[in-house]
């Protein structure tokens, strides 16, 4: 599509699909969709479809931070999502995405990593976050971050006790009640807002069309308080300092506004308990 028509629409704060520049497309969230994970969520944003599963396993803490657990990310770009991912096509993107996610989420400002510690220096919980791209329709990062936050909210880690006998041999003991588990505090978990620079303006939640017109975009991760935890520039083009500043401000504003309704939604879903009608993948 010719850039002219696009830019003309941008003037009136109106985009091809009728949204404003800071509007997200229709979003659907469902948690607890994969029963054999410890926490899972499925998010669809427009036609972008993301599934996140979290598995908690016991591992050894990193030597530098003996009293913290950690997260590991793996992004699987399945060929279902787009034909480009066929063969090893998605691999590079997958690695890039998971590295970015690691930067955004694995720090003590987003998640209380100390709560993942079982026994300092010896045992901690490692959260394996598996992100599956089911369908790509632009704005992967934002959708992924929301899915990860929802999945973390949904995560239930079995409670363990460390017992110690006379010789000081430590043993991990599990509670036999499946309801006896630990929840994560996701209050500070950030959401990613990706801003696409198109001509002189920038838009959030760019579709594939819009992305094709954009020279560069800025990824900003924002907590519910509006704190920016990570900024990255994506794309080949360059951005001047003024527009970076402008985009950061927009990102902060949009990101901050994203958290409250998201949390409200998650809490509401959980309060339904077992009565909730599961939608799953057949909807």
């Amino acid at each position: 599509p010719p850039p002219v028509s696009l830019s003309s629409l941008h003037v009136d704060d109106l985009r091809v699909d009728g949204r404003g520049c800071e509007d997200y497309r229709h979003m659907e969230i469902e948690t607890d969709v994969v029963s054999n994970t410890d926490g899972s969520a499925k998010v669809s944003l427009g036609h972008t479809d993301i599934l996140v599963g979290i598995k908690a396993e016991i591992g050894k803490p990193r030597p530098m931070v003996p009293d913290e657990g950690y997260l590991e990310f793996f992004v699987d770009c399945s060929a279902n999502a787009t034909p480009e991912f066929e063969g090893r096509g998605g691999e590079e993107l997958g690695v890039e995405l998971s590295n970015t996610l690691y930067k955004v989420f694995n720090n003590r400002h987003s998640l209380d990593l100390r709560s993942l510690c079982i026994c300092p220096g010896e045992h901690c919980w490692v959260l394996y976050v598996d992100v599956l791209l089911l369908q790509c329709d632009g704005n992967l990062f934002d959708a992924m971050s929301i899915a990860i936050k929802a999945a973390l909210f949904n995560t239930r880690i079995p409670k363990v006790h460390i017992s110690e006998d006379e010789e000081g041999v430590k043993e991990i003991e599990l509670s036999d009640d499946p309801y006896d588990c630990m929840r994560l505090n996701v209050e500070n978990v950030p959401c990613i807002v990706t801003l696409c620079k198109i001509a002189h303006r920038h838009v959030v939640d760019a579709t594939l069309q819009e992305k094709a017109c954009s020279v560069a975009s800025l990824l900003i991760s924002v907590t519910h308080k509006g704190m920016v935890t990570c900024v990255r520039k994506l794309g080949r083009g360059s951005l001047d300092p003024d527009s970076i500043f402008e985009m950061t401000e927009t990102g902060k504003r949009v990101g901050k506004a994203l958290h409250a309704p998201l949390m409200e939604l998650l809490q509401k879903e959980e309060s339904l308990g077992k009565k909730r009608q599961k939608v799953g993948f057949l909807a």
Binding site: K55, I58, P158, E166, V169, E171, I172, L174, D176, P178
Partner: protein, 920 residues
């Protein structure tokens, strides 16, 4: 509808895993009642008129027992009176988890048609499935599931038009569960309450197991025993090495002493000695226990005192005196053994015990002590109202528990076997005590038998070859994994007792379809050798075949044909040919060092009517016995080679380890006493020196030596070739051996048949056959059953010998000294194949002066007058000592040589009248 069950599990590596299982719910699970019109059950199990005479439930009713009732009161549930019971899946699963033997019994009960037991799969029923709730323990959840199912039944049956007064009654001993059930409007009773209400059958009450609520009142509150540690502490202790895990073995002679056999990897196994009731701490023979070792200063030596727990009442003063007796100062530190105490029980191995009742001296008392036949089992306290009828009877009692404040374990009466000393009763006792499965085959097992009349349908090509050796093809009928196969695998072997046979497979197979009768077509597995006249095998082939036997001959008939020069028909000629070959084969085998050993084999002549033994005869061996044996050995060896060649990892073989040289000490000493030398450096040398050891004036000497040599041998065992490296069969001097020739009476042979069938592409394989660990555990069971069968057989012979001598009165016989002990000589009477002991010490009077010399012989000098050597000829009287009705013994007393004060006078000739008494 699909539900998923989620639980978290710890992995062996120390990680934590979330496990999710899919769980399907259905709405086509029937209630199984005749009353119901809603369910489309074709053959409902539960009767419409489920009436039992009870003053608690006068209406017809179905019982729903909870898990603990099934676990503890299985004896009650098995009673024919208890019918129309609904066994819930929840209960069944819990029972299976907690006690496999009870699980098997309840499964067997549900298979019995007359019992009307119905298994309701409530966990898969849409309306009775429940999910575990937050904060609910798994036990609470299961109790709730039982209540929900009971509730469902109540409501479901009420919908039926012809329900009448029919109700559902929940049996539970858990008060909380009962209260909740009653709140839900269910009928719930305690098991005791219900059983006591059965006015028609008051004897059932005796069979109630004592549950923990009732135990408190039995003895005073004084705690006699230290507490058992919880399993978690035990496991931690074993891991850290503070405790040792082992099997508890009570001493046969001393009830205050036991050993714990601690198995470690490799040969590093030890035995821990335990002394005194406190240290034994309520462990019962065969339990798996955790022991704590004492420091070395407290180690003691095993006492040599014989102590039997036979006091009429439990007075503790005597206990302490008895314990003091144990403490004899030991000067020799080498006799000290690692000593310890039981800190906890890991696994109880209680089984129902046979024995007799000691009636309480107090009249009308309902609590009595029970003395088990096995001396290693403590006496058990039981409650019964029929003590007077049970006295003098052999009964079975099960242990329910052993509280800390009770001197004896508590148990309950299970079954009356019959009068003590009665032949059938005693046979039953010895089968039970030797763990020989002898119940009639269940319907499930019998259902795998072929339909009669049975005939061969497949086509077959036969090829003629010189020597064909046929064994019935049992594996054709017993297919891997079915109920018939499992039963046979569990039984392991057919057990032969005097006048009774406990079959491994149902009779239709053992004496019809798998018996190669003459002039009938039968399936066979054949081993085909081409041999030259020097009995060298040119070619060996195996094939499945069909055989139409020309003649079935007994050993004696065959022998007569061979010997009768006037017979020259085909069969006789071929018999002679085979006999010649067999003799060559035997010669070759002996040249290689195969041993010919001897044991006094005795057979009873049975009265055809009463099955009482009338006379004894020693088994006679004919040429034909040896002929068949040679070819059997040859077949076994050929098959062993073949299956090992094909399946080097999972061939089932049999080995006979060479005994350690020290085993032969007694044999060498015994021969030396007659200036003969026995060489033991190889089987060949042993065989040769045994052959040379002949005394001119003492023809029975060689047999005696061979009997002794037999006692020096190790036990031959089955093993899986992948788990062992030593295959040698010492006794047969064969590098490899297996059992192929008797698949109807040995399960090992069935496995060998299957392996061979796979090897020759005659049959398909299955996973368990190729799994060396499974194979190995099967071998363990076979070896165990084999051993127990031998013991049972010996016990049966011993019992029949006793019966025989009971009828004979006192006999006077000649015998030989087989062993010389410190205070006794063991005598073998060749005429009866009977062994007995002449004791020179008596409990009531001071014994004669004895002088034991273990260096030469060994010898025993009595009163400085006579010295007994091994193999001396003596004369003894034989009589039956029935003073202890549970342990009758053959008593021998010395007649010749005459030693004043020791030997006895010849008994008076018996009056004729006494002899008539035998014809009971």
């Amino acid at each position: 509808m699909l539900k998923s069950k989620t639980f978290v599990k710890k992995t062996r590596a120390g990680g934590v895993m979330k496990v999710v299982r899919e769980h399907y719910l259905r709405d086509d699970i029937w209630c199984g009642s005749e009353v119901c019109t809603e369910c489309k059950d074709g053959a409902p199990v539960l009767q419409q008129d489920a009436r039992v005479e009870s003053d608690l439930c006068a209406y017809p009713h179905y019982l729903i027992p909870d898990t603990n009732v099934v676990l503890h009161q299985i004896d009650i549930l098995e009673d024919p009176l208890i019918r129309n019971v609904i066994i819930l899946q929840t209960v069944l699963q819990e029972v299976r988890h907690r006690s496999p033997p009870v699980y098997k019994r309840i499964k067997d009960a549900t298979h019995e048609k007359e019992k009307h037991f119905y298994t309701f799969t409530n966990e898969h029923h849409r309306q009775t499935f429940i999910e575990r709730e937050q904060g609910e323990s798994i036990n609470d959840r299961n109790d709730r599931a039982i209540r929900v199912a009971a509730k469902w039944y109540t409501e479901h049956l009420n919908k039926a038009p012809s329900v009448g007064e029919l109700k559902v009654v929940l049996l539970t001993n858990d008060r909380a569960n009962r209260d909740k059930a009653e709140q839900n409007g269910l009928l719930a009773y305690r098991c005791e309450e219900y059983i006591k209400s059965l006015t028609g059958n008051p004897e059932l009450v005796d069979r109630l197991a004592l549950t923990s609520d009732d135990q408190n009142e039995i003895t005073g509150s004084k705690l006699l025993f230290p507490e058992h540690l919880p399993l978690s502490r035990i496991q931690a202790g074993i891991k850290s090495g503070t405790f040792l895990q082992g099997t508890f073995r009570a001493s046969r002679d001393n009830y205050l002493e036991a050993t714990v056999f601690v198995q470690r990897e490799g040969d590093d196994s030890t035995e821990v000695l335990l002394q005194g009731l406190q240290n034994l701490n309520r462990a019962v023979h065969q339990d798996v226990v955790a022991v704590e070792l004492f420091p070395k200063e407290q180690w003691v030596a095993p006492s040599s005192v014989v102590l039997q727990d036979d006091r009429p009442s439990d007075k503790e003063t005597e206990e302490e005196e008895a314990e003091k007796k144990l403490e004899s100062p030991v000067l020799d530190p080498s006799r000290l053994k690692p000593t310890g105490r039981v800190v906890g029980i890991i696994k109880r191995n209680w089984r129902p015990f046979c024995g007799m009742l000691n009636q309480s001296q107090i009249k009308e008392a309902t609590r009595h002590l029970f003395t088990p036949a096995d001396r290693r089992i403590p006496r058990i306290r039981i409650e019964t109202r029929q003590a007077s009828t049970l006295v003098g009877q052999r009964i079975i009692v099960a242990i329910d528990g052993w509280p800390r404040n009770s001197r004896y374990p508590n148990g309950h009466f299970v079954r009356n076997l019959g009068g003590a000393g009665d032949k059938d009763t005693e046979t039953e006792v010895l089968l039970l005590e030797h763990d020989v499965p002898h119940q009639p085959f269940s319907q499930a097992v019998l259902s795998f038998l072929p339909k009669m009349p049975w005939g061969i349908t497949e086509e077959v090509n036969t090829v003629w070859v010189p020597i064909l050796f046929h064994i019935a093809d049992v594996s054709h009928f017993i297919r891997p994994g079915n109920a018939l196969d499992q039963e046979a695998a569990s039984r392991g072997t057919t057990v032969y007792l005097c006048g009774k046979r406990i079959d491994m497979v149902p009779e239709l197979l053992s004496s019809n379809l798998c018996s190669l009768r003459s002039n009938v077509e039968r399936l066979a597995f054949s081993c085909i050798w081409e041999m030259n006249h020097k009995a060298e095998i040119l070619n060996t082939r195996f094939t499945k075949s069909i055989i139409n036997s020309k003649a079935s001959l007994t050993y004696a008939e065959a022998q007569m044909r061979i010997d009768d020069a006037s017979m020259n028909d085909d069969i006789t000629k071929s018999l002679r040919g085979l006999n010649t070959l067999a003799k060559i084969l035997k010669g070759q085998r002996i040249a290689k060092g195969a041993l010919t050993l001897s044991s006094p084999e005795v057979r009873f002549h049975m009265d055809s009517e009463t099955h009482d033994p009338i006379d004894l005869q020693t088994k006679e061996l004919k040429d034909t016995n040896s002929m068949v044996e040679e070819f059997m050995l040859l077949a076994n060896i050929s098959v062993a080679q073949k299956i090992y060649e094909e399946f080097s990892e999972c061939a089932l073989l049999r080995k006979h380890p060479a005994p350690p040289p020290s085993n032969y000490d007694i044999l060498i000493k015994a021969a030396k006493s007659r200036e003969l030398e026995i060489r033991i450096d190889s089987a060949k040398a042993l065989a040769d020196s045994l052959n040379e050891a002949v005394l001119e004036d003492f023809p029975y000497f060689n047999t005696l030596l061979r009997i002794l040599a037999t006692r020096c041998m190790m036990q031959a065992v089955y093993f899986c070739s992948g788990m062992d490296s030593d295959f040698h069969h010492y006794g047969l001097a064969s590098p490899i051996y297996t059992h192929f020739t008797s698949p109807i009476r040995r399960y090992s042979d069935i496995i060998v048949h299957r392996l061979l069938a796979v090897a020759i592409n005659a049959d398909s394989t299955y996973p368990d056959l190729m799994d060396k660990h499974k194979q190995s555990s099967l071998c363990n069971n076979l070896n165990y059953r084999h051993k127990m069968a031998q013991y049972a057989q010996r016990a049966s012979v011993a019992f029949h010998t006793q019966l025989f001598f009971k009828n004979k009165g006192i006999l006077n016989e000649e015998g030989f000294i087989l062993f010389v002990r410190k205070n006794a000589i063991i005598i073998l009477i060749p005429k009866f194949g009977l062994e007995g002991t002449v004791f020179f010490e008596n409990n009531d009077k001071p014994g004669p002066r004895l002088n034991f010399d273990s260096e030469v012989g060994p010898t025993l000098t009595v009163e400085d007058q006579h010295t007994f050597h091994i193999f001396d000829r003596v004369k003894v009287t034989i009589s039956l000592d029935a003073s202890n009705i549970q342990h009758q013994k053959i008593r021998m007393a010395l007649v010749e040589p005459v030693i004043p004060g020791v030997s006895v006078a010849l008994p008076e000739p018996e009056p004729e009248a006494k002899k008539l008494k035998l014809d009971r």
